[in-house]
């Protein structure tokens, strides 16, 4: 046991050296680290939001709304598919109840033709089926979502949403956000160093779905005020309605959506000099917009953002070229935010903020300072205690402990792990627990000496007998740490990571390294007596 071949000594020393070197960039000041980074890679430990300050936002998609949006889109494509068939298929009694789209084919002899025309709509580009087609009562066609359809749609929507959020946050400037999908319908957004998350939340919380619909000018104002719409119309909220009503009736169909924009910029209205947003459609959207304005010159059209009318101007003349201006009661900031949101595209699904945590940088800095202070005091007291109690063997344990601290930092840097506030506590705890292995070994050596064994034999027995308990004790800690990691979230995971790394490195330093040094000492001096 006390026999250490030379190659083993070299290997262990090299391992320690590499591990500790890895820790160095993390403890250097940022400016020096930046200079160093030009010559060598500088893996660093990330600081968690609770230490660096910043915002953590958990967004959840409204899945029921996604299903509704899909149904709406399906209705649109079904209507145009039925119009395009030759001869045209007349349909009526369209319903989107119960998560299904159903309609009656007026001429029941056309049911088969209608089915034929619908087939391309029921599968997606990957070839798997999104919708099931059924026929009830001879002429009523029912389209119901296939089981995988909604899941795939959600999955795609979440991916798109993640990209959209990424684009929107990047538009804010130099932030370094982490945006990850979590579970089926959630997205985590973490932005370090952001003190006031209001601007961020205003950006990512908005769906930014822009629509243009004709105002239903024949609607009865009394009915509209009560929120009742005629057939083919819908009532939408309109907070800035000049007529004083809180809402307005718009025609359900025949509008165009603003999801095909190539540009959106904040500007000022030339007449009123108030903040506004100019938008430019792509060529297809521009043509549609031109057609709509041409056919409806003189009428009012509503500009709708996320289901709420922001203004309803009159179409004075056809608008060609696809450039339009949106005015409403904007401030400079809100016009800017809206143009960013429109530029980066609408979110395919509404996202709600279900959890939000923000930490100011001062509190984080205070936590780091106090955490480091506690770690330093804790470590120093242990070093003194170990040396006082175990002498030479305590000294070995102390060197191992210091190396252990370096190794934990090194491994964390290499793994690009995040140090959180509970992580610092985990660090302090690991320092205390790391010497436990040495205590076990040294106490055992003491016992074996008392039983009258010779020095070398006592040391050998000490290491051998203590390893069993060290192994079991650390195994239980690993079990707890792994569960902590699996079930924990955010800062707690940071704590679990420190614990796991600490357990592995502390066994290595406290058992393997000290044994190597003890073996070297025994070989050199052949001690007949041992003070421990």
């Amino acid at each position: 046991m006390l026999d250490f071949p030379r190659w083993r000594v070299w290997m262990l020393s090299l391992l320690v050296l590499v591990g500790v070197l890895l820790a160095i960039p993390s403890v250097l000041p940022t400016s020096i680290r930046a200079q160093l980074a030009q010559f060598v890679p500088t893996p660093t430990i990330n600081l968690g939001l609770d230490l660096a300050g910043g915002s953590h936002i958990l967004l959840e998609a409204d899945t029921s709304q996604l299903a509704e949006t899909r149904l709406e889109a399906l209705e649109d494509s079904v209507r145009s598919a039925m119009r395009r068939t030759d001869p045209r298929i007349a349909i009526g009694n369209v319903s989107r109840a119960n998560g299904q789209l159903s309609f009656t084919v007026t001429d029941s002899s056309q049911v088969d033709a209608a089915r034929e025309a619908l087939l391309p709509l029921t599968s997606n580009t990957l070839g798997s089926r999104d919708w099931n087609i059924g026929v009830n009562d001879g002429n009523r066609i029912v389209l119901s979502p296939a089981s995988t359809g909604n899941e795939t749609a959600l999955d795609q929507a979440m991916d798109t949403a993640k990209d959209v959020i990424d684009r929107r946050i990047n538009a804010l400037g130099t932030l370094e956000p982490t945006i990850i999908r979590q579970g089926e319908n959630r997205i985590v957004v973490q932005v370090p160093g952001l003190e006031d998350p209001e601007a961020l939340k205003a950006l990512i919380g908005k769906t930014a779905k822009l629509e243009f619909k004709l105002v239903d000018e024949q609607a009865d104002p009394d009915q509209t005020a009560k929120g009742i719409a005629r057939v083919g119309s819908q009532v939408l909220p309109y907070p800035d309605n000049p007529s004083g009503l809180p809402n307005i009736a718009v025609r359900r169909l025949g509008g165009i959506s603003g999801d095909k924009l190539i540009k959106a910029d904040p500007t000022f209205d030339q007449q009123t000099n108030e903040p506004a947003v100019t938008i430019q459609f792509d060529s297809e959207g521009g043509q549609k917009f031109a057609r709509m304005t041409q056919q409806n010159t003189g009428k009012l059209f509503a500009i709708i953002l996320d289901g709420q009318v922001i203004s309803a101007p009159q179409i004075k003349e056809p608008i060609f070229g696809g450039i339009s201006q949106i005015s409403g009661s904007f401030t400079v900031e809100s016009a800017n935010a809206l143009s960013i949101s429109l530029r980066s595209g609408a979110l395919p699904v509404d996202l709600k903020i279900v959890e939000e945590r923000s930490v100011g940088p001062d509190l984080g800095a205070d936590s780091i300072r106090r955490g480091i202070l506690a770690a330093v005091i804790g470590t120093t007291s242990i070093l003194v205690l170990m040396f006082a109690v175990y002498g030479r063997f305590g000294m070995y344990a102390n060197i191992a402990l210091v190396i252990n601290i370096g190794l934990i930092l090194g491994v964390m840097a290499l793994a690009n792990a995040t140090l959180t506030l509970p992580g610092i506590a985990g660090f302090v705890l690991t320092i205390g627990a790391a010497v436990d292995a040495n205590v076990l070994i040294n106490e055992r050596i003491r016992e074996e000496l008392k039983r009258g064994r010779r020095v070398v034999q006592a040391i050998e027995f000490g290491y051998k007998e203590a390893s069993r308990a060290i192994f079991d004790a650390n195994s239980t800690n690993v079990i707890a740490a792994v569960l902590l990691f699996i079930f924990g979230s955010g800062p707690i995971r940071g704590f679990a990571v420190v614990l796991m790394i600490g357990i592995v490195t502390s066994v290595f330093t406290a058992v393997t390294l000290t044994r190597m040094w003890v073996a070297g000492w025994v070989k050199r001096t052949r001690p007949q007596e041992l003070v421990i």
């Binding site: 945590r357 509190l363 936590s367 109690v389 705890l429 436990d436 051998k464 069993r468 239980t476 800690n477």
Partner: protein, 328 residues
Amino acid sequence: MKLLKLVPDDTNIDFLKWRVFAFALSLVLMAASIGLVATKGLNFGVDFIGGQMIRATFTQSATAPVSELRTKVGTLGYGEPTIQRFGKENQVSIRMKLPEGADKNPELANAMAVKITNKLKADYPGVRIDGVDSVSGKVSEELFSKGMLALLAAMAGVSLYIWIRFEWQFGVGAIWSLVHDVTLTFGLFSLVGLEFDLNIIAALLTIIGYSLNDTVVVYDRIRENLMKFRKMDMAGLLNLSVNETLARTVMTSVSISLPLLVLVFFGPDVIFGFSLAMAFGIIVGTYSSIYQAAPILIWLKVGPHSFVPTEGAAPKAERLGESFGAQP
């Protein structure tokens, strides 16, 4: 050189003499803890009941105007706030229930935070907002159930490990002492009314790991002595094992509690509860491995017959120990 000895050589303290008394005391304390949690309840943070917590420091005054704040925030129309000092005298956390309908419309929660922080900034020019936490009811329910699941899984997991490595009685002893430690920590939090949040669950899981650390060392010695002294009566054997490992128990407890106590007294305020839970749990855990985990083996009728030295758990354990640590 004269070395320091925390525990004199060859102690022979009759720890087990007090086992019935200690067990009764522990039962009473556990019952009291459960009773406290049932009647007084735990001071759950927003992590577990949802709501909003705003942390603020009043940089220009020595103490935070807690009662004044309570009235001021109360008049904003969002109901009565829970205001607590944390850390320094001029730091407070203001906790609010989320406004009605905030689950559907997060704007409402947002608006509340803005309104409260604006009110603070307007009325107290020196105020510094240190953070805002907003957790919806749905997320808090998930965090709570996940946290409890983690606790149960950890207790079951480590006990199972002990059962595999030792004997089933040792597994029972381990889980009993864990339940003991966790229950008393719950009781402490209910008693002092410290905020119970996700961090405390993390502390409890760590306590489970380290409380068992002690138990394992004592158990390992009991197993070794059971195979060595096959005629010794059980109480005497447990006493011997506890005494033999006493120096280590004391030394390790001191070396783990030292940094934890430093953390409690000098560490970051935000994790005061977390540090306290760990320090308390480690100390209770040391007591429980001597006075709960060990005597339970007598009542579960563990004896030399539990380990047949030729084949079974112990030699296997020894082989594992060797392959892990010592070189042949």
